[in-house]
Point group: C2
Chain length 453, copies 2
């Protein structure tokens, strides 16, 4: 425990903000708050990790909420919200852009600060929720009221960032800041949490405010179906704070938590990515005796929260189609950072030149059986099932994918390719295999190919 404590102290020295940083954040926010109050008679409050004092030194996120009465019309809230935001950036001399959540809002840089001005309804209970962001003030208040040891949250966040599981964005599908705070509230310390996680079950339920009786846990697991960790929002029992957490990220956290317990090291907080030897990775992949192919295209101009779910949907669509055609899929992954694309590891590069058509059963009406035989002529039975074979147009992976993708955007979308990707693919795409794979720069591609933790 001595060693562990020394490691924590060492890490905290680097990630705990000093008083100057805390004060300078507060001053910047106060200036903005006063400006909004005087000019628009609107109340502004600071949210996020700076408000909760759980931010990591150097993070300069000022999430400023401006509050409208619940009687305000949606259009008024949106217009006025944008107007106030723009005024703030004009007044304090920053560049901004308009982003879109449930309502549009302004975000941008003011000096060294990352500022967001988010319009919300001032409600008195989460039961009266009018939009998703209206929950945030309740989260902030809950953490401020209950959290005694923000440094433990800082350790957790930094650890999670280092192992790649921090962030509830839809690229990472990891742990949100609020979830980190609640996990520390639940387990008291970072170190306890790591141990606690070793005993979690699938759909472990954590429920600080006893939103559910034990007898209701089964129903809760059904309600939060397919969500591998269930942390009941203490401000709204109908919400799972860990809803976007994927099983991959959860497994990764538990795994590295176990590693840290076994041999604590500062490296788990400040992980240095090993530079990748691409030739070595490709050689290992080839040695496996499988076939690798990537479909690459220009990255569409989308935020990651939209791009990654589309890439995953696209990957599943093509994967299902290839498996339906008789290819045996070993693994598949997507990448969207530099180049954009999906990749497959397959057992076979070709499929039989004939496709087996499954017909009616011998117990089906004779008319149906006759129709099948008229259509395919040469039939036989597998068990009670009539089968026939038809010659395939394409039986190797390159020509099969080629014929799938050589279409315009509409035809691709009709075949189930997500719209934004279909547009890029229709313009240009590449099927990359063999040595050409070395030309792919995307780190995510090489992570997927190398597979290792």
């Amino acid at each position: 425990m001595e060693v562990t404590k020394a490691i924590f102290d060492h890490a905290l020295k680097k990630i705990r903000p000093d008083t100057d940083e805390v004060v300078s954040n507060q001053i910047m926010f106060d200036d903005i708050r006063k400006f909004i109050k005087e000019k628009f008679k609107i109340e502004a409050r600071l949210m996020g990790s700076v408000a909760k004092n759980t931010f990591i030194a150097g993070d300069k996120d000022l999430d400023i909420f401006i509050f409208f009465p619940p009687t305000t019309k949606k259009e008024v809230l949106e217009t006025k919200g944008l107007l106030i935001g723009k005024s703030v950036f004009k007044k304090f001399g920053g560049n901004y852009q308009v982003s879109y959540a449930e309502h549009p809002y302004t975000k941008g840089k003011i000096g060294i600060f990352d500022v967001e001005i988010v319009p919300a309804y001032k409600i008195t209970s989460t039961k009266k929720l009018m939009s998703a962001v209206d929950r945030t003030p309740f989260h902030t208040k809950y953490v401020l009221d209950n959290l005694k040891n923000p440094d433990e949250v800082r350790l957790l966040k930094k650890f999670m960032k280092a192992i790649g599981v921090y962030g509830s964005d839809l690229k990472t599908n990891g742990f949100s800041g609020y979830l980190c705070e609640l996990l520390i509230l639940r387990c008291k310390t970072f170190n306890n949490l790591l141990k606690h996680a070793q005993k979690w079950n699938y759909q472990e339920i954590m429920d600080l405010e006893n939103g559910y009786k034990k007898s209701e846990y089964k129903a809760a697991r059904t309600k939060f179906n397919d969500q591998p960790l269930i942390f009941i929002d203490p401000t709204d029992k109908n919400r799972n704070v860990a809803a976007v957490l994927s099983i991959d990220r959860l497994a990764r956290f538990i795994y590295f938590a176990g590693k840290f317990i076994d041999s604590p090291s500062i490296d788990y907080f400040f992980r240095i990515e090993q530079p990748k030897d691409k030739r070595q990775i490709l050689r290992s992949a080839k040695e496996r005796g499988t076939f690798h192919i990537a479909i690459t295209f220009k990255r569409p101009d989308l935020i990651e929260d939209i791009l990654y779910p589309q890439l995953r949907r696209f990957r599943r669509r093509i994967s299902d189609s290839l498996e339906h055609d008789g290819f045996v899929m070993m693994s598949s992954w997507e990448f969207g950072n530099d180049e954009c694309g999906i990749a497959f590891e397959l057992l076979n590069q070709t499929v039989p030149r004939f496709r087996t058509m499954t017909g009616p059963r011998i117990f089906d009406p004779k008319k149906n059986r006759d129709n099948f035989e008229d259509k395919y002529e040469d039939i036989w039975f597998e068990g009670d099932r009539m089968v026939a074979e038809v010659r395939r147009k394409h039986f190797d992976i390159m020509s099969m994918l080629g014929s799938f993708f050589d279409e315009d955007a509409k035809a691709l979308a009709d075949k189930g390719v997500p719209k934004n990707l279909a547009q890029e693919i229709a313009k240009n795409y590449s099927l990359v295999e063999g040595k050409d794979i070395l030309k792919i720069k995307s780190e995510e591609f090489w992570n997927g190919l190398s597979k290792r933790m």
Copy 2:
């Protein structure tokens, strides 16, 4: 219907025995019966298709049962049964052999007749059954009492023989003679049966003596689980007369019955096997883009009822093993007539050089997870499951099968190869692929490869 009737008349002219044949059968049986009665004071009765007058012209099967009181000890019945049998063959000058059913019995040739002398208990009801053959007299009596039109049975038997579905032996897994007789009792005529069969469902129940109420049909289907046709034995409602009928043979019968209805032809009774063009079959098979391999060995000296179930078990064992190793199985079949062996059609000739090992889930005890990681070192997660890879010793089909079969008989049997086959394989076997397949003579092999009806 005119055409159909003409076809039936034409067929019956060839398959209905004339009076001379019927009389000569009867005389031969009477001589044997008298001999047994005088010498041993034992009652003998004729069973089988000759007794029931449903035999096809030229069939010379005399199934003679000799009856012992139920109080007779099993050993006495067996010893005395064999003694009487041997005396009969000695007296009438025939060669015999001892065969084994539930009891041993003698069978052999006497002149042009195929004679069996089968010892049985003389019981008064099938409820008092002491061995399986004791049922036969009840079957014979039931058919003699009820069947009015034996010619319809002859048409059915001949049709079934021609399309390869006649015989309840474990090579054919088809329709027994008794089942043919009952089907005619149920549907009155051969032609009606063909039509009736077009409407059968899976596990169609036929129940002449109303052994079951309609409300009990569901339970009956469970009782006769996996048996695709259920014909309740009118002499014993606990028995399905079609118990050994396989789904393949049933489908084949229904299919050809439908063909005959659509375009009746005498060819369905006297089917001439087309001579097979083996090169053409092999070329078609190769064109499919799959890989074919046969494992051949000397046919063990076994009756078909024992050989074929062993071959099928062997085929499933090897098929499962290959699929477990990552080969994708398209079809498989066995052959036991000339050469003996099993054959596979596969998608791939090789598998990845590494095998994926599936480990514990992330939610399993840390100790288990640590053990897995200690054992395999390089691990990663697929969902919540730990996986690792180990290098395979063999990754092409030839070396994999070679390493499986290069063992002594005991080791092969321990690996699940049926004992009698293991003994032959241990002595010698061949893996046949490519052009060498042309050297295989077995008709059954080529039927399996060509697949067509």
